[in-house]
């Protein structure tokens, strides 16, 4: 039995276990760095600033509880099999950080490798999968276009019949895809960040930014105004609203993204199955729930309400792939808000304001980028220069027509 459990087991019941997630302290008058948004990205950035760059006075603010936005709402899939060299390079670094994140944070984020299959149902999608595979391999990311027989061997319970509306012709096989316990990622960064001096202020909503000239001087919150040396926004789902406080307009469209889980079942599906043509994806969690989702809702909306329509459309397609799931019951459905960019790539780094940094445009692909965002956003803030790996994602690329072109690999929210 692992030592940690032995220790916990023999601890006296009467004594409360030590506090790990920090309590919200009093707000100070000023901080070197204020990070708006205590989600995975904000906390990872704070953690890296404190541990790698030695920044001391860091405050992370959140209007709700920590990790309660899209960090709490995503479906936990991580992968690097994107389409553009810029994207693949970026997510590859994220994946390599995920590999050792449990050890780094001394907190089990349950990073689990699972075969990730993106199904191709038409010859056009076979072509796209080959493109992704070729770009991935070129950049050292394991990816292969595989045929029907290999698909069936990896996930034997897929319906491989040719006599369906969209038969499976092949798949992009990404053997190093996986999942991680999304909440745990935020908690791990919060706990270790706090140990390094990061203050996390929950239930502290930013109501405005005081901008003078090209600098943000102060951050106005529901608990008072604080001065800030540097300010980072990491508020996926509300990015354009926050940026407006700084006088910035972002190329974003906010749309709901929904997901759902079934009641828990004994293991039956062992890989991550994604179908862009059928707008659906599925994997089975460690708890036995089938985690399912699809494409974003077809309309812009700042709301996390869920719809019946989403489930109906999703399941119609899901049962094409797995007809035997018809008798399984839904357990819970929910929605998050996705800030979609025109090119399906994020917006990161410096802004026209001297001391304001942005981490936005995370659409449906934010969770898997959490570790690399923390590392590189911290580097960007600490050095006040845009790291090379973030250069393709700079916020003014839309006005300069330097888009990234990731639509082909990011449109289904997995």
């Amino acid at each position: 039995m692992p030592l940690a459990l032995l220790k916990a087991g023999f601890r006296s019941r009467a004594k409360a276990p030590p506090r790990e997630l920090p309590a919200t302290p009093d707000l100070r008058k000023s901080y070197d760095v204020v990070i708006i948004g205590a989600g995975g990205h904000g906390l990872a950035t704070a953690h890296a600033l404190a541990t790698t760059w030695g920044v001391r006075r860091i405050a992370v603010l959140d209007k709700g509880y920590l990790g309660g936005g899209n960090t709490a709402r995503n479906t936990a899939i991580v992968r690097a099999n994107y389409l553009t060299p810029e994207g693949v390079t970026f997510y590859k670094e994220s994946m390599s950080l995920f590999e050792t994140l449990s050890q780094e944070l001394d907190f089990n984020i349950m990073y689990t490798r699972k075969p990730h299959l993106t199904l191709a149902h038409t010859d056009a999608s076979v072509r796209t999968m080959r493109w992704r595979a070729e770009v991935n391999k070129h950049l050292g990311v394991a990816s292969e276009l595989i045929d029907e027989a290999k698909v069936a061997a990896i996930e034997p319970c897929l319906n491989m019949s040719r006599d369906v509306r969209y038969p499976i012709l092949g798949a992009l096989h990404h053997p190093v895809g996986g999942t991680a316990r999304h909440d745990a990622v935020a908690w791990g960064y919060a706990i270790r960040g706090a140990q390094a001096g990061v203050e996390i202020h929950q239930l502290t909503e930013v109501t405005g930014l005081r901008v003078e000239g090209t600098r943000v001087r102060a951050v106005e919150t529901t608990r008072g105004t604080i001065e800030a040396g540097q300010v980072v926004q990491a508020v996926a789902g509300a990015s354009s609203l926050m940026a407006r406080h700084a006088g910035l307009r972002l190329a974003l469209r906010t749309v709901p993204l929904q997901a759902c889980v079934s009641q828990p079942l004994k293991p039956v599906i062992n890989s991550i199955i994604v179908s862009g043509s059928l707008h659906c994806y599925i994997w089975q969690s460690q708890r036995g729930e089938l985690v399912m989702g699809g494409a974003v809702d077809p309309y812009p909306l700042w709301s996390t309400r869920s719809t019946l329509d989403f489930k109906e459309g999703l399941m119609a397609h899901m049962l094409e792939l797995f007809p035997f799931l018809a008798e399984v019951r839904m357990m819970r459905q929910w929605a998050g808000m996705a800030d979609m960019t025109p090119d399906f790539a994020p917006i990161m780094g410096k802004t026209p304001l001297d001391n304001y940094y942005i981490d936005a445009g995370w659409g449906t692909w934010g969770f898997k980028a959490t570790p690399v965002c923390g590392k590189r956003m911290a580097e960007c803030v600490a050095t006040d220069t845009q790291p090379d790996i973030l250069k393709p994602f700079r916020h003014d690329r839309f006005t300069h027509f330097d888009q990234v072109g990731e639509a082909g690999a990011a449109s289904v929210g997995s």
């Binding site: 692992p2 089990n108 072509r127 119609a316 008798e327």
Partner: protein, 961 residues
Amino acid sequence: MSAARLPAPFGRLVDRERSVTFSFEGRRITGLAGDTIASALAANGQWMLSRSFKYHRPRGLVSAAGLEANALVQVGHEPNVAADRRAITPDLDVRAVNTFGGLDHDLGRAIGLLSRFMPVGFYYRTFYTPRAAWKVWEPVIRRLAGLGTISPKAPHGYFDKAYLFADVAVIGGGPAGLAAALAAAEAGAEVLLVEDGPVLGGSATFARPEPNGVAAVEALAARVQAHPRVTVLTEAVCQGLFADHWLSVTQGNRLNKVRARSVVVATGAHESPAVFRGNDLPGIMLGSAAQRLMRLWAVRPGREAVVLAGNDDAYEVALDLAEAGVRVVAVADLRADPGSDPRVGAVRARGIAVHAGTTVAEALGQDNHVAAVRLAPVTGPGTFGAVGEPVACDLVAMSVGYVPATALLTQGGARIVPDDATFMPRVEDLPAGLFAAGSVGGVWTAERVVEDGTRAGRAAAAHAGHACPVPGPVAPDGEGRTWPIPVFPHPKGKEFIDFDEDLQVHDIIDAAAMGWDHIQLLKRFSTAGMGPTQGKLTNALVQGLLGRVTRQVAPRVGTVTIRPPITGEKLGHLAGRGFEPRRLTALHHRHEALGATMMVAGTWMRPAHYGPDLASAVEAEVAAVRQAVGMIDVSTLGKLEIRGPDAARFLERIYTWKYETLAVGRVRYVLMLDETGGIIDDGVAARVHAEHFYVTATTGGVDRVYRLMQFFNAQWRMKVDIANVTAAYAGINVLGPASRAVVQAVGTTVDLAPDAFPYLGVREGEVGGVPARLMRIGFGGELGYEIHVPASQAGALWDALIKAGAGHGLRPVGVEAQRVLRLEKGHVIVGQDTDSLTHPLEASLGWAVGRKKTDFVGKPALDILEARPQSRRLVGFALDPAAAVIPKENHLVIRDGRIAGRVTSITRSSTLGKVIGLAYVEPDQAGEGTVFTVRADGGTLVSATVVPTPFYDPDNARQEM
């Protein structure tokens, strides 16, 4: 523990004359028609239904109403069936879930022994050093988790959907719902009443009846059922209340989608369990569960009972038990003073000991059932004093308080707040059109519930447009019914506060102490409320306990959002019948008769090639077009009619080229950009009249094109009518040197002479007696006619062309050969040779952009893009004949070890005797004769040479004949 059935009037749902036999864990069990699985098992003395999620402790029913995972069983192939809701049918194969070796001998019990080494969130603390550890533990954890099983071989039933409409939807068929339904119907509204049980009446069907109470509710139910404007759905669950009163209601294998003008939620309240050591033993249940067992299924819930009371209703349970022949050993009343309610007096009068200010401190089990309890005085919130000697009993009935079932109200946008007077959530604010009736809204006593239901029903009818007088609000009367937070931690633990997730009180306390002290954090860390029943029974206890240990008021603790669904639609409900559109052209069956291999093309099916073998078919089909004549079904092309005085101006703004100057009778290429200058579609526009264009779009792109046209014209407000006529017309492309002769032979009113009908002309007339629009175009680079006719007459034309072409070597030609033909001509396929960012210059389509035009969609972006240095260019290439491997589409162009482009199209051209293709290369490699490198399968590098396009007939002489 075997319990004989109680005599009538107990057992209102069972038919004592009809027995039903099924199997449980391989044993034959006989129950009565009307039994649930759980009630039949209980009647046979089988109280243990499952093993718990983590520790594999014995579990039985708590609510008898589907509110906890204890009652989940496997029924045949169906996982996670609520045994306390599913009626028995002959030969059901019922098994316990999550056991290793069966319910009685579950080896998983061993895990329970280790429970002290599994503190809350233990899996975050361990299993990750060394790194490989998780690889070992993860599969173990996976196998231990999960409840039921689903087999990939499971048959799947037939599911369907229905759309229902109502002025007023009433959810819940108890007294409040019945009164609401009747009142709304009498006010003139069409009413849909949704009841999840098999009969109407709600709590009146199982609670201790008041004098004439049952008769009154039955009379009410009868009036509701007889009312012509009320539709009653029983055994139907409203799973969710979505925006604009859109309800998901499952019943059997049907999903009813209900649109209602008003919704009345009359879902009532359920009892809350008390939390004490051993409170999860089979035989410990809600007072209402004991009443349900007796009155609904005539099952005696035990022989000797202890009643744990927090309100006066508990005394009704005690009286019911006593009257059913259960010896009530004691009533432990949490209240310091049980008060003077006559029910308390009646219990005392029966000689039953009532212990005031007393709780159950601990339950003791034997043979997987409760065998005794220890009582102790309550000394404060959640604390007790000296623990007494064991009191033998085989039933503990808990009636300590209620939780209103507000989930649907919350989903509908109601604001629910805690109420310190009642210790229950209170409906603070309801959006227009949503109403609460009865105990869910805080009104409890029988006659007031009916009054409240009537009020809600009338208000709902009035909101739905049926004017009627609406009485004023009925004052809530929930005080004294709920004991605040009946959670009694025990020094030795094993007090379960979430049965689904096997959570003990100290799990919650520890999680909060460690910092997960907001309810949302607590839920995610401890998994409280994350189980199959989503914490319906216990969320309020967890929330209360968290508030107690953190001394925070509820707003700071936060609330949990109860999300849909309520009990869970099956995935089959949601999917319904397979209804994925599969569009067939008018000629589909002719292709099949000709032996075509069909392929998916967007939502359509198209012939890929005729005959089974791809290579030989393609070669023969290409040869037919180049040397004789071929015939291609192009019906899937998007077709749009653009009509009106502004039609030409409209096209000028939508597409890149010039159309105002296009002569009537002429056809011109169209190219559509998005606002970033990227190519999104192409086709042709034929001007058939000064104010009428017939425009084609790609098969996959037409819906978007049509949508964008409407979108833009909503802004521009030009005088133009846009119609998508894709399915109305079929198209046949007759292509090849002999095409003119074949069309002539079929007979046409159009003068086909080259001067009269030149290349890029459009004519209307008849072909083979069918009204047709002919365009002299064709991807393939040969003399050809694209003939568009009403879809209904395409078959006749196809047959006539086949007949007329017989002597000319005519062959039907599929998509694969068409791709070769177009590539030989160097034509670009949007979406294959372009990506989301490709602009016209990169794709060598600059010729299709009207340079003098002041505006079209994408022009501002294109001006900027064109002023910048180009980063890539689409070029034609010929593969080195000595290449070891032929690359495939999307193999990469590699230059100095970096990605410099990609192959977008490639084919072996039998016409030209070489492999040709299109590829993106860097601009300085785009010059004719430049050699570049492609990485093919297996990493093999091959070289290709840039050559001009078209590859075939570069002077375009053949298509202009």
